[in-house]
Symmetry: C2
Subunit: 410 residues, 2 copies
């Protein structure tokens, strides 16, 4: 047979595209005056396992603390997830914990699944108590609406300042049986990605042992979401969930064989697509930016330089202005902490070499401006000190970012 | 006698206010089409000692490399400094080094002082060769204009995107003799302070041994400029110079006695004032922000949290919008890396407590908005885990920052 890793095909759909998942969402009015869908449930019709990754922020929100505990107590045996937007339930003390616990319990009750098998996630404003009456009142309505076609409503309900829904679904065969992996995400505040609350929910009808499910999720996150949001430098609510219910009937993956590798490729493809979509939807952004650093000694040092460049507001404003200001790029690389030799460094912008061996190439400024007016900008930095490389995704920084963020809370 | 540390009085003036210093500046047209003053010389009429601190960016500009070498070879014996704005002479390879050396040599020649006793500094665009014909042609004109009244022109010539000149002069007695310390600075790009080129020049007619001059400068920078620009995370050109010519005739300071402490206080006062002026003149900023973190275990951890908050674009945009969004402040503290207990954390904005023990206080939002509309905003964060504190200065982040930085180079 051919290499199975090449055979994941992207299709339309959402978290209910894999077999035996249901979802629904309603507008519960969690943010006063808003009529946006803001309360959603994801449900697996059959028993499923779940893995998750949570924020490492010292100030973790109540739903993060509660879901982490529930997941651990249930040993990964999870049937449902309830999510709200409009309020992060962060910095809300003991009451916040009780509210998050109630959300999970009421959801498990309403779905008639074991107590502790429903998890919870929230996103929105920090420091306000949840309007629990609206959530309590809303849960039966959401459960009532659950269906195999609710994926689109689910992906809409989790959004905050996002301008569009983010999803990716891939299909392939495992041991001859069709298997689907789906993911949806929210997240948009990209000037320093670590401040954006990122929520992502993935579902699959493949069957994996819990250790392998965790392993696959960790690896996929490392090369996707963690290349937009910094590991350890995350918001109060960041969470990534993966449910696997085995409903495809495909052979169970219980060791690190070629089928595990195949599944890993599919999951990584979904997570990478979502991470790119998050960067593309940066608040007020007009351009998607990929920063690739090549010829480093380690992947880690390449990532460190790429992230420093991607986080530089001076680089991001230059790209917004279609200005080939590579001096800001080399300057950011210079304070990244990696001891490269500036005299070996090359920089290309959308394929046009602007800096060779640390000095300008005498490139055509008009041509550079044209290239930088494209909606996608690829920055390539070559270090000349090794064979490793890494890519980090971000977006440009525009006046609209300021407008959105100076006014968001009120 | 009373504590001498209390007796430094601020007066009007510039780098030529201390005795036996001359300065001048001209418009040499270093940036094509500009008529701004851009070439300046500072000169000590009598032999003087100098100490300096330079950027730690891996990509250090040619004038930094050249001045560092000259200062070391001359063992601190320095008579003059030449500075240009409009071109940073960074990423300019061997030619850049030769150009910086020429600038220093031509200046020493024109002033008839020993070769190697003139230093050089540059600020402006990266990656362009200096227009040496204009500099070579300009040096005699600047020397011609040198006078004891040239301090104001000097402080004007070093500016780039700054909207105003920055200076501070203090006077006191050392051993009964009047002594003056003066400083001027440029620097304005404050969204992430590490990207702003910061140049500062201080002069004094006090007399200190070279080791004590260095020691005083290091300490003063640590609690002033390094609280706006991150140590080790600086631009390609950052430089801070201090000249001491002893022309006051006051007793020489050669050991760490009370007179050294007294001088240290005066110099720290000058540097702190300049650092605050830099933060106040942040590009496009409308508000000065001081972030103070109290009750930490070490000064270092307080500074780390304060700097993380001060660098958060979400905090800075909230302050621009006069929005008491303390959730963004606690979130930034949470990813600073300091293991504080969120349930003990308090936050006050211009004296109004908005968060107590990690939760909202139920403060009056209208009152908070009024307080945040003031041109100076004091953020106080209390950790409840020690007795140390630290303050970092920054400014708000506005749409004008983007405008300035998307268009700066062209």
């Amino acid at each position: 047979m051919t290499n199975p890793s090449e055979r994941w095909t992207e299709i339309q759909g959402g978290v209910t595209t894999p077999l035996k998942y249901q979802a629904a969402a309603i507008s519960a009015g969690i943010k006063p005056g808003s009529t946006k869908k803001d309360l959603a449930i994801l449900f697996s019709e059959s028993p499923s396992l779940a893995a998750a990754l949570f924020t490492r922020n010292r100030v973790a929100a109540a739903p993060v603390l509660v879901s982490r505990r529930l997941l651990s107590e249930a040993r990964g045996s999870v049937r449902a997830l309830i999510v709200n937007s409009g309020n992060a339930n962060a910095c809300t003390g003991r009451r916040g914990i009780r509210d998050a616990e109630s959300m999970a319990e009421l959801t498990a009750d309403a779905l008639n699944v074991p107590a502790g098998s429903a998890l919870v996630a929230s996103t929105g404003v920090i420091g306000l108590a949840l309007p629990m009456d609206r959530i309590t009142g809303g849960i039966p309505d959401v459960v009532e609406k659950l269906s195999n076609h609710g994926g689109s409503d689910f992906s809409e309900a989790i959004l905050t300042t996002d301008t569009r829904k983010k999803s990716c679904v891939v299909q392939s065969l495992i041991g001859g049986r069709p298997v689907t992996i789906a993911g949806v995400a929210k997240g948009a505040g990209m000037i320093q990605p670590r401040l954006a609350t990122m929520l992502a929910f993935a579902t699959t009808d493949a069957s994996l042992s819990l250790p392998l499910l965790k392993k696959a999720l960790h690896h996929a996150a490392k090369v996707s979401f963690n290349r937009v949001t910094v590991d350890g430098d995350t918001s109060t609510n960041d969470s990534l969930f993966l449910l696997a219910n085995g409903a495809s009937g495909a052979r169970a993956i219980s060791k690190e064989d070629r089928w595990f590798d195949h599944f890993q490729h599919g999951l990584t493809q979904v997570c990478t697509s979502l991470a790119r979509q998050i960067a593309q939807d940066g608040e007020g952004s007009t351009k998607f930016i990929a920063v690739s650093v090549h010829e480093g000694r380690t992947v880690r040092e390449c990532e460190q330089i790429a992230r420093t460049i991607a986080n530089s507001p001076l680089v991001k404003t230059a790209i917004a202005g279609a200005d080939a200001n590579w001096g800001r790029i080399i300057c950011a690389a210079g304070y990244s902490g990696v001891p490269f030799d500036p005299d070996r460094l090359n920089i290309a912008l959308n394929g046009l070499q602007v800096c060779r061996h640390g000095q300008p190439t005498g490139f055509d400024e008009r041509r550079a401006k044209e290239l930088l007016q494209k909606p996608e900008v690829q920055i390539d930095v070559t270090l000349g000190r090794g064979r490793q490389s890494a890519t980090v995704w971000t977006c440009d920084l525009t006046e609209d970012y300021i407008k959105i963020n100076a006014l968001y809370r009120t």
